[in-house]
Structures are given as C-alpha cells and as structure tokens.
Amino acid sequence: MTNYKLNDKDFKQINERSLFGFQLGWNYERMQASGYLYHILPQLRKIYGDGTPELKEMMETHTQFFNTSNFFNTIITGIDLAVEEEQGIKGKETVAGMKAGLMGSFAAIGDSIFAALIPAIFGAIAASMAKQGNPIGIFIWIAAQIVVDVFRWVQLKIAYKEGVNLVTTMQHTLNALTDAASLMGVFMVGALVATMINVKFAWAPVVGTVPLNIQNNLDMILPRILPALICGFVYWMLGKKGMTSTKAIFIVLVLAIALGALGIIAKA
C-alpha cells in the first residue's frame, strides 16, 4: 500500500491529457508508449515520489510499446493505477502483463465501434444531408461525438473502482452493443447504396427500330438495382488477394471514367 490516494483532480488531469494529448507522440517504434507515460506522469510522481528509483523504474516500464484504441485506453489506465496505488513497485509485473493483455482486445473492439461504425453511421447521415446543401447533419455528428467523449471521460473512474472485474462484466454488453451497432451499420449501407450512388444506364441499343430503355427495364424489376450491382462488384473486388482500398478507388475511377466517356453509364 503506497501513501497516495487518487482524487477527482487526478482523474480530471488524466482525462484531459488523454483526450487532448494521448497520440501526439505516436510512432512506428513504440506507438502510444510515450503518450501512456505522459498522461499519467503527474500521478506516478505523486505515488512514488519525485526522484525515487521506483519512479524511474515505473517510468521506464511505461515507455514500453503500447497500443490500443484511444477510445478505451483509460479503462486500462484506471485498472493500472488502482494496482500501482495499492501495491506500488511490487505491482510492476502485474501492470505490465495487464497492459499487454488487454490492449489487444480493446484495440479490436474500440476500433470497430468508434473508428468504423460510428463514423460510418453519422458520416453517412451528415453526407446525405450535405448533398442536399444542408449542414445540419454535420452538427448532429458533432453532438454524437460529444456524447462519445463524455463516455471516454467517465470510464476512467469506473475502471479504477471496479478493477479487472470490469473487463469480464463489460464483455457481454460490449459484444451485444457492437453487434447492434454493426447491424445498424449494415442497414445504413443498404440505405446509402439505394440513395447515394447516382448513376444510370445511358446506353440504349436500338432493337429493331426503337431504342431499348435498359434503365427503365431495370427499374421495373427492382429500383436502384444498378447501384446495388456496382457496389456488389466493388465488394467482390476488395475480396481479391492483394487488393487495398486505395487500389480499389483508382480502379473504380478508371472504369467509371471509361464507361462514362463511352456513354454507357451517366450521372442520374
């Protein structure tokens, strides 16, 4: 048991450093390591005392490789500090193991919720409104991110109090949440395909004497079937080995320019 007990001012400081400074030092060698040290440095100094060998040892520990989702990182921080406050330098191994053990799963789940799904859903709403000249959707997204940041803010203290148990109790809810969010993501992609890919068949081969309106025939079968087919094609292409999203963008660019220039497809 060390002598220092974290208080609300500490949590505030850690959260501010996390929200505004966690990834400034990101680099290929140790990724978020220096950010991790930085955002708890004042607290480490209070726990171990300035200039002590324990402090140096722990500072060195926290400059080791670290990488997780920066939307979940303070959960790890909370658990870490609860241990260090309780056990001091004796908790070093525990802390190092816990950090390495948890960072992977939080990276995966955090990225899929906060770096893929939420930006996809709100980005889609914002973009579809922006397309009609309406900036409101942009502010809706900003509002949503404020909610997210509140969430990032509160988790530190919860994690500090609950300790490692939290991880197991959270698991099920998080899974259900991710699942529901991805369901909505998939639904929205379907909706976006139906509204945001505005191309049509311009090619009208003359059969007998009348031009065949291919687009209208497709519309009769299923409205917006062409966008669905295009998106399906790109999806299939992305599954090919060695394909990257940047490559895919350029392939589609070239194909679309060609088909557009030849008058086969046109803007709807």
């Binding site: 402090l55 400059t63 930006p119 940041d149 909505m184």
Partner: protein, 300 residues
C-alpha cells in the same frame, strides 16, 4: 482565384484536423466537415458540402487501425473545394480529378509523420533517466509538430502553387478532353460505391445480410416514391395555375431511415441481452465472421 488569407485559413485547418482526429475526434476532422469549412472560407458553402459529402462517402468507415495509414480524404477535400470554387471547376470533376489523387498522395506524408516521431520517443527515454519531467512532457507535446506539418506543408504548397496546374486541367477537360471531363463527373457519382463496399468488408455482412436487404429495399422503394413526387411537383411548376395550390415536396429524409435502422438495432440488442447463454455463443460467431471480412489495408 484563391486569396492569401484563404490559403492561410485552410492551411491552419489542415494542421488542426489531423490533431483533432488523433485525439478528441470531434468529427470536425471528417471530410464532410472539411468541405463545409472550406466552402465557408471560399464563400461557397454549397460546393463545399457537395465535395465534402462525396469524399466522406468514398472513405466511409475507413478508420486508422493499428497505425495503418489511410487515404487522407480531408486534405483532398480542402484542395478540391478551394480550386473548384477558385477556378470554377465543376465540383463533380474536382472530386475525381483533384480530391482523390491528393488524398492518396498524402498517405506518404502520414507515414513520414509517424516515422519522425520515433526521434522524440528516444529523447523522452533520455529525459526519463534524468528525472526531467518537464523535458519528458516537452518532447512528447513536440510530437504535434510533425503531425501538423505533415498536412500543412502539402496543403499550403498545393494551394499556393497548384493554381497553374489546375487551370490547365480545367482548360483541357472543358476543351479537347471533354470526354474526360464527362467521365470524371460520372466517376464522382460512382465513387461512393467504393466507400460502401469497404465498409461492408469491415462489417459482419453475412451475419446481418437480412438488414442489408431491408436497408436497401425499404430505401429504394421510398426514395423512388419521394423522388417521383418531387418530380411531379417540379413538372407542375410549368402550370402556374395548378402549382399555386401545391406545397413544396422534399426528398426522403435519411434521418428517418437511420431511425428505422436504430430501432431494428435496439430490438436486436434487447433480444441478445435478454438471453444470456445463446447470445454469448452468437457473439463468438460474430467475432469469427468479422474476421472473414478483414481486408489487407492501405500501407501501399
């Protein structure tokens, strides 16, 4: 053309947005916001929103995972908006002719930034040994510099010097290469398909295929209906006597569609949390199936 103060504002924003994205993630670092901002600065919000929206859709769901560099649609948007408004280039063409290529090129400066920060990491090690707390913090915060410059330099230079090149492009695609201009417009309309497809690759699409179908079908039917009515409303404007009695007709509200999606998601969430055991099984399945969707990312 583009005024010096516009260049300054856009360049400052280019620096700001990468720091925002790395940290607070306010969504003011998203292409659609970049378009909005650049539109305001350039005095043509509508063009800004149009380009921002298209770029947003093109990279929908492309996050930065595990430190992988991604196509920088924000910077691409800034240049596309600035030159589209500045030179009168068609916004749809600006997206494909400027926005996307610039966004792709900026992957390299992102890599540079991530690289140069290694230097600061080693300085921090040294300060740790000396118990120099201020030093640690200084060298850490200094990491903001490479990050910001990695965007400000290319965007600033591009805005200041790119005018000539862009003018030439515009002249060509409105003149001898008109077919290319047309093609570029079409490409701008098709590009969002890539964003959607990428996103589907990251999502457990097989598991939720039913919702893909629902989202697509419901929206395609409703958007056809709303569109037809708008279409009729516009046509009737040619008959003033009749049109007098008409209100205005809007397109399908995407927020409404999103609310339907949200409702379905909540129902699924409640279902899965109300049955402890099977839900656990389902979630492991989902983990698997999302693996299957992974794609090799953009380190080029």
């Amino acid at each position: 053309m583009i005024a010096w103060w516009q260049i300054v504002l856009l360049t400052l924003y280019a620096g700001y947005q990468i720091l925002d994205e790395l940290q607070i993630y306010s969504s003011m670092s998203a292409p659609v916001f970049a378009g909005f901002f650049a539109g305001l600065v350039m005095g043509d919000m509508k063009t800004g929103l149009t380009i921002g929206a298209a770029m947003q859709l093109t990279v929908l769901g492309v996050g930065t995972f595990g430190g992988a560099s991604k196509i920088d649609a924000n910077s691409g948007t800034l240049l596309a908006v600035a030159f589209s408004v500045g030179t009168g280039m068609d916004p749809n063409q600006a997206i494909t002719a400027l926005g996307v290529p610039v966004a792709a090129l900026m992957i390299y400066t992102d890599i540079l930034a991530r690289f140069s920060n290694t230097f600061f990491a080693h300085r921090i090690d040294a300060q740790v040994e000396k118990f120099n707390y201020k030093g640690i913090e200084r060298y850490f915060v200094a990491g903001a510099l490479p990050w910001a410059l990695s965007r400000m330099i290319p965007v600033g230079l591009g805005l200041a010097l790119g005018g000539g090149v862009v003018n030439t492009i515009v002249a060509y695609i409105n003149g001898p290469l008109k077919w290319l201009g047309d093609g570029l417009s079409v490409a701008g309309a098709v590009l969002p398909a890539v964003g959607f497809a990428i996103l589907l690759r990251y999502l457990p699409v097989r598991k939720h295929i039913a919702y893909l179908l629902l989202g697509f079908t419901i929206t395609s039917l409703l958007t056809t209906l709303f569109g037809s009515i708008q279409n009729i409303g516009t046509a009737l404007a040619a008959a003033p006597k009749v049109a007098a009695g008409l209100g205005s007709f809007n397109g399908l509200s995407m927020l409404a569609i999103a609310l339907i999606g949200l409702a379905l998601a909540i129902i699924a969430y409640n279902n899965s949390t109300s049955q402890p055991a099977p839900a656990a099984a389902a979630s492991t399945k989902q983990a698997d199936s999302s693996d299957e969707g992974e794609i090799t990312d953009d380190e080029l």
